[in-house]
């Protein structure tokens, strides 16, 4: 498998929750994000009990789940299928492992391939439990993007760096998703460790909320993921502010 999602460096990766505030608005946001400089879009499928996410994303999931629509995997794949007719940039799902397990692992990767989904981030699926998922991913050519934190042991880091496809998602701080004022400072050295194992793009997430964070991340990594900050903006100021913020961040 070869994924070339980082032909250009400094890739901005915004996150949206499917169905918050509505599925059609999520689709419009994905399109607008691509039009305004996003290199990859991460689309979250809402789950009732997301343990890796902070209060902002959890609240967004609960809004989506109580909206009256069904923001399911199938609904997400429909959005992907429509957007991919007009855009070639990658879309990845971010979702809890239980949603895929419930959908069926093989069926998920088959349907994802048909819809044109490029990859999937599963925060609570560690490498050690992933063999069925990896096999299905290889057959379907839908990438599994693994997450690592700076707390990862050298032995595990090597396995994860070799297993991930598309890019490696580096969790910038301990804790759950959520915007923060300051970010961890030991990340550049950690990215070097990753690159020494394998020349794979590294995108940094968890805590990015300001243009200076994006600039800082891009100085040592290949991509910056912005989630909670955009979700907060969306719920307080609406989609035009979100798109404006994406173009500002993309211009850094």
């Amino acid at each position: 498998m070869a994924f070339n999602w980082f032909a250009k460096s400094n890739v901005l990766i915004p996150y949206f929750t499917l169905g918050d505030p509505s599925i059609s608005e999520s689709e419009a946001l994905v399109r607008a994000a691509f039009d305004n400089g996003a290199g990859i879009v991460e689309l979250g499928i809402p789950f009732s009990d997301p343990i890796a996410d902070g209060p902002v994303i959890q609240a967004s999931h609960l809004r989506a789940l109580s909206s009256g629509e069904s923001p399911t995997i199938s609904a997400g794949l429909n959005v992907v299928q429509r957007v991919k007719q007009d855009y070639s940039k990658p879309i990845v799902f971010m979702l809890s492992v239980n949603l895929i397990m419930s959908y069926g692992v093989k069926k998920f990767f088959n349907d994802a391939k048909i819809a044109g989904l490029d990859g999937v981030v599963i925060p609570d699926l560690p490498f050690e439990e992933a063999s069925d998922y990896l096999a299905a991913s290889r057959r379907s050519n839908v990438a599994i993007v693994f997450l690592v934190s700076p707390l990862c042991s050298p032995e595990r880091l090597e396995q994860i760096v070799r297993a991930t496809e598309g890019f490696l998602y580096l969790i910038s701080t301990t804790g759950t998703t959520g915007a923060r004022d300051t970010m961890a400072t030991d990340l550049p050295a950690f990215v070097e460790k990753i690159k020494a194992i394998r020349d794979i793009p590294v995108a940094v997430g968890f805590g990015i909320s300001k243009p200076r964070h994006v600039k800082e991340v891009m100085s040592y990594a290949d991509g910056a993921i912005v989630g909670s900050h955009l979700v907060t903006l969306l719920s307080t100021k609406g989609s035009s502010s979100v798109i404006h913020e994406i173009s500002e961040f993309a211009a850094v």
Partner: protein
């Protein structure tokens, strides 16, 4: 079977940030727990501080009524009033060995929160307990006890505001403060190695019961009964008997308003396999994998999941599943109170309820785990006009 799995169940479904903490916990546990020093310190606490061994009491009046010999394992007589203290002390000792001075815990009925707050007070550690707002309402006495013991009780307002959400919030705290914090999970749930550690620390219940019944009756029991929420008191008393196939193990889940009402906590009876809070196990979930709300009159059973080892024992046919409704449990609480002078916790009352629905032979020996005392439930009992 790979390490940390019970058949297909269990595992370690957590974000990478927690992986190293779980590895270090497992390494500490495997190194420290088998040492004589740890064993001595733990046994001494269980004896001098908790008051173990707890009695195995032949309940003659209910035995006569049921028509079998019913023995009660009196975990309600432990210090702090339930079996939860066994695990809280064991894990606090582990935290001490790991050099972690801040302890967090989740609690439903408040018994695990009280046990953890107690262990922390005893060992001079900081203690933060996450508790759903709804549980705070129905278990106000335990909230007060935790505060008196010096713990900070954090109300959880997300989701159903019960044990499920308190657990999620505790995991979040741990993700953020993992360097200096140990998370004492209160049941045989969560990512590996928790289900094994909690079972091991609770297995004293079954080991004592086995010794006590051999001394009282000269033979093993025919049946062992325990209620199941997450499953820590059940695994605690079952573990010593799992390999002895002649002993029937009965797990009693909360049927709430009835198994067909959709308002119950019977994950083993009505759930499907899925991942919640870091392990694969039977779960109450909808067809899309969204976790459903559990219901039980007893806060300690009000959880949509169950321990992975119990899921495995279910699939392998080793345990027998029974249920009791809210109404059954309330009636059984009154029954045991008036017949034997023991006010059981509403959780344990579910186990007591099946004595009346199961059939026994007159020479059957039954051990029932009275996992906790009912004082904490007085408010609920009064509300239901008992």
């Amino acid at each position: 079977m790979t390490r940390g799995h019970f058949g297909q169940f269990g595992g370690r479904y957590v974000p990478d940030t927690l992986f190293s903490a779980l590895e270090s916990l497992e390494a500490t546990y495997r190194t420290i727990a088998p040492t004589q020093e740890f064993k001595d310190e733990f046994s001494k606490l269980l004896k001098d501080y908790v008051g173990r061994p707890t009695p195995l009491f032949l309940a003659e009046r209910i035995s006569a009524e049921i028509g079998a010999k019913i023995y009660l394992k009196r975990e309600d007589l432990n210090h702090t009033g339930a079996h939860k203290i066994n695990n809280a002390l064991g894990q606090a000792l582990l935290a001490k060995a790991m050099g972690k001075r801040r302890i967090i815990a989740e609690t439903g009925a408040g018994q695990h929160g009280v046990a953890t707050a107690t262990a922390c007070a005893l060992m001079g550690m900081d203690c933060v307990v996450y508790m759903g707002e709804e549980d705070i309402q129905r278990q106000s006495l335990n909230v007060y006890r935790m505060k008196l013991l010096g713990a900070t009780v954090v109300p959880v307002t997300a989701g159903s505001r019960t044990l499920k959400d308190a657990t999620t919030e505790a995991i979040r705290d741990w993700l953020t403060n993992v360097n200096h914090t140990h998370y004492i999970i209160g049941s045989v749930v969560g990512p590996h190695p928790y289900p094994t550690i909690v079972r091991d620390f609770q297995s004293i219940i079954g080991r004592e019961a086995k010794k006590q019944i051999l001394s009282a009756e000269g033979r093993l029991p025919d049946t062992v009964i325990a209620c199941v929420g997450g499953g820590s008191n059940a695994m605690g008393i079952f573990h010593a008997f799992v390999k002895t196939k002649s002993v029937a193990l009965v797990a009693v889940e909360a049927a709430g308003h009835g198994l067909d009402s959709g308002e119950h906590s019977a994950a083993l009876n009505r759930g499907t396999p899925g991942v919640l809070h870091g392990s694969l196990s039977y779960l109450l979930q909808d067809s899309f994998g969204q976790i459903q709300l559990a219901h039980s009159v007893s806060a300690g059973l009000d959880y949509p999941g169950v321990g992975p080892e119990l899921s495995y024992l279910k699939d392998s046919g080793r345990i027998r599943l029974e249920t009791a409704t809210d109404t059954d449990a309330l009636a059984s609480c009154r029954w045991l109170s008036r017949t034997e002078g023991i006010i059981p916790a509403l959780e344990s009352s579910h186990a007591i309820a099946v004595l009346k629905t199961m059939s026994f032979k007159s020479d059957d020996i039954v051990i029932l785990n009275v996992s906790g005392r009912g004082d904490k439930d007085i408010g609920t009992l009064m509300e239901h006009g008992l």
